[in-house]
Symmetry: D2
């Protein structure tokens, strides 16, 4: 940790801070300069963070040296982690297709859509039973009834399922009825939820918050892993920028960046990441190419009647074409084609 003092800091300010660092059995470094004094602290940065030196009125800035996450870091575990959603592996040299409607609307809607997902090569079925919506006047999901529909279809078609968890109290039901949890962008920093999910052993697909930095995403994953659940899959789904031509700006830089710094699998959601149906296929290809371990796609047997996010949802024929057109890119990326 590097501590830059203000120009008006005195020798006694510096000594006070050096003593605090020594008191934790860390090694302090004193670097007086002509214009400014710099102090270094060598050792465990999580330990030195307890001193809250940023509060000191004579401290101008503090620069950490190490990344704030540890368990999810590739420095700690250099190998790729593979997370299994039931019998479907995510990560390593697998490329996984998770698809389905934004929201579960009815038994018929989900069944028809799940058949399409399965037939054209999808590995997991997604569908939301609990829907967080910006407006109180929008469709809010079927709740527990939706979960049961999801479960029945999962059994009938033998396909693993992913559904969004919004609150700690839903965990038990979802654990019973679905194969994996999805944490939505709005809940990426719902730390109680993360901790509670850390107590389970089911896979958690953790979506990046709409204005979360990559480091904040990795710290959120750290919460889950730190509680004991290593089965975390990260998901890039677009960030909020000034650009309005697309609903979000899909930040694909994040994929190789995360792959280089973290051992967890990373997938991409080009449906939310663009918000535009015609951009889903090209951005799925780009996701494969830059190293993603899978994609999560919104598809509906008839998007014209979808109750949410219809404008970014693929028609069945578009989904079929997408999977066909992805194949050469998956092969070029050195991943297995499992469909």
């Amino acid at each position: 940790m590097i501590i830059l003092l203000k120009p008006e800091a005195t020798q006694s300010d510096a000594n006070e801070i050096l003593d605090q660092i020594s008191s934790l059995d860390l090694k302090p470094l004193y670097m007086p300069g002509i214009e400014r004094t710099v102090i270094g602290a060598i050792g465990d940065e999580r330990k030195i963070a307890q001193l809250h030196l940023e509060n000191h009125p004579m401290v101008e800035t503090i620069t950490p040296i190490l990344s704030p996450y540890k368990l999810v870091s590739r420095e700690l575990y250099p190998e790729d982690t593979v997370v299994n959603i039931d019998n479907i592996p995510v990560g390593g040299d697998n490329f996984t297709i998770i698809a389905g409607p934004c929201a579960i609307e009815s038994d018929e809607q989900l069944y028809k859509t799940a058949e399409i997902v399965k037939e054209y090569g999808g590995h997991c079925l997604r569908g939301g039973a609990f829907k967080p919506r910006t407006s109180p006047y929008s469709f809010q999901g079927l709740g527990l009834k939706g979960l049961k529909i999801l479960h029945n279809i999962s059994v009938k078609l033998n396909i693993p399922t992913v559904t969004e968890v919004i609150e700690v109290q839903d965990i038990e039901d979802i654990e019973k009825y679905a194969s994996a949890f999805q944490v939505g962008a709005r809940n990426m920093q719902n730390f109680r939820l993360l901790k509670a999910l850390g107590q389970t052993r089911k896979p958690v697909i953790l979506k990046r918050g709409i204005s979360a930095t990559i480091n904040e995403l990795l710290l959120a994953a750290e919460y889950i892993v730190d509680e004991g659940n290593p089965n975390v899959i990260l998901c890039e789904r677009g960030i909020r920028t000034y650009e309005t031509a697309t609903r979000n700006t899909l930040d694909l830089n994040a994929i190789p960046y995360i792959k280089q710094h973290c051992h967890l699998p990373v997938i991409v959601d080009p449906s939310h990441g663009t918000g535009v149906r015609s951009l889903v296929e090209p951005m799925s290809k780009a996701a494969v190419a830059c190293g993603a371990d899978g994609i999560m796609i919104e598809v509906h047997y008839n998007p014209k009647v979808a109750l949410s996010d219809g404008q970014q949802t693929l028609f069945p024929e578009q989904f079929r074409q997408l999977l066909i057109n992805l194949k050469p890119f998956i092969k070029a990326a050195g991943k297995k084609i499992q469909y």
Copy 2:
């Protein structure tokens, strides 16, 4: 609602959409142009939203005419709403000072700080018992124990209190021990929490999400009011931008914009909004000047030892000076000085 069709849309696509609009007893308008066809729908936009025309493959864009919120809109209630935190009015011609430490750390810390808040002219005491923290390795708050400390000091010093609510299950305890709820930026779109708070009648200070638009903030307030609780106070606390010199970018544009479009009181949190101790006073003055109904300030009897957000926390003497220096601006703004 204005619906722009794609260039390749046919007459029959237009007719299909016109029929759907008519089917809801709304008035459709057909505007064929040389390059594009435009369709209008006159009437309740919340009704027409049910058609999900954005899903139609021949629809290029949909532009709503009316604002998506209703109950919080000044078009509906032109007068200023005044919300009372116990006996302290917020809104109208009042200017309210809410102050205290970021987190409740101990009985002694809160008592010493509360004395300062009260003595120098603060109206309400703030302090967090439940702290959502980006890193799992940071201080997470005292929980219920903290709430009880807050309550005791509130009684002893006769000062109303504000504390953050993180989850539905905490509502009951907070309702018992504090005068008002605070919804943090990370929970602005935690819709279950908003709905549950709508079931109470205690004031809710709703902070703007770190990347929420002003319209999203107003829609979040609509959730609470729609459930029956009209006592909502909005709070601007800085948004996330590319600028790194400050922790957040305090968006003061939002204050007059909200005052012109919404009847609820609006306060400003310059501590989080800047993240820099020396910017708190000037930005508090600016908040007064552009029409805010109050400020929420972080102060600590000794910020050097604060367990969170110390670098933006005022020293007691800075807090005293701030309130003295704010007075002429409060007067210039035509607000009452109550301290």
Copy 3:
């Protein structure tokens, strides 16, 4: 154009605006609603823009129907435009590699680097003679001397060249010594420069501004084409967001979005778009996959001694590997491999 009036607008305000629209021989549409009045104007939106109805105090918002650009739009020219940099085609089914150092530093540096570019399969050599730098204390480029070095090496190695133009007065020299102009991100809205480049016939690589929307990029291209030069190549090079892990956020959404709305070729600069050497290869693959017509890469015979942007500049061996590893993706994208 759709004009939404304020709630307090009267019938006479509406009539005033309807008359103005009629006066231009456009077709006005009057849509009185219960809560608001909406007015439509059907016809050439550039014509109606002259009325400056946005200035009217009773106008709340104006929503254009048509895109503001015309000449670069695919609605006008549905076919892909192919632009030739000397004998190198950009666009259509070609995939073009433009590479070289950020700045021309010396004859030796450029020659050594150009040999590498050419040997490993690059089609065009890039190198800046005029460098706009954030700090006055950074290296500012060799100027005319650099241009001459670029020209000599172009002739010796028979490779077309691209160099940045900063000001109108440099156009003549660059036209003489280089094969194509590059307009940097900072000059994307230097409209005089764009107009002057519109008077030439040499290709212009127009980089997206660091906070330009896609529509603003297309309007900037419109400036050049409108003056008579159709040879414009667009370049995505990353936008400024709140994310700090990477220097910029490469917005690959822009590639398929532009390809769907505009007939000009689009290339990607993953060196500036990420600012991180190890992200250049994966993001180059992603660029190919989502439909880019080429990439622009920073490479240096010895990046350790580069005078600018060295941290994002590839070592020769990295560049060689990049071109080898790109091949299967170029093939998967259905583009010709010309190296």
Copy 4:
């Protein structure tokens, strides 16, 4: 400067870098840690920047200690600089009102508007002769003819003038006809223009770029001062964020931040900073309150017919009220009221 090496860096990499630092007669510091090695370099950071250590493949990050600007820094000159626009002082305890139309449209338009500016208390007249416009189909300004109109009215009404300079070649004309240069947001990093303005002695109002950081603005000012012209006035005019309710997000945090770090005067442009007429007055008050040295306001004798930016331009009566309503805030801020 603090240099963090990658985990895989060897002792010999560290030695190589330490030797380079020593070779410049700077003091190197070697801090080997358990997980990482950190190297410090004490001395002039502009000198060490020549080493381009960021290019080294074993360097992970470089953190500068000192601010990159020097001449504009308050560390160097602790006193407020006062810049005179003809006889009008800007900075210190003065509060200056610069007002006028966005663009000079005709002799009559500017005269009528200038009379209003002068009569109600404005100190300087603004008006653009050269207008950079996003669309090639918008009004581009009267050019030299506009400058002459500006000059005549300046003489007739005895009021100093400010006008935008777009290109080096315009400097001579503007120097002849106007009292001060304005550099627009799009040209904040047009470094040749900045250098050329550094050769003059007329005041330069330097507007912050639409996505420029505060540090980049200060570095741009440094360019001008470094060339010999100390008469620079900074101007905050709103930055681009994801928020769409306002045209830009006026970043008032920047005002006290700049006042604390830089000795130059800073003014605020709430017309562009909000893009909304009704927000101009409240944000002008906020600008005063947080320490701005002046405001730049768009006013027009009849905004309904303005050829550019009419929706943010004040009507004469609004301008009159603004100046009246500002007075108590200017007084509260301890500034002189000169009108």
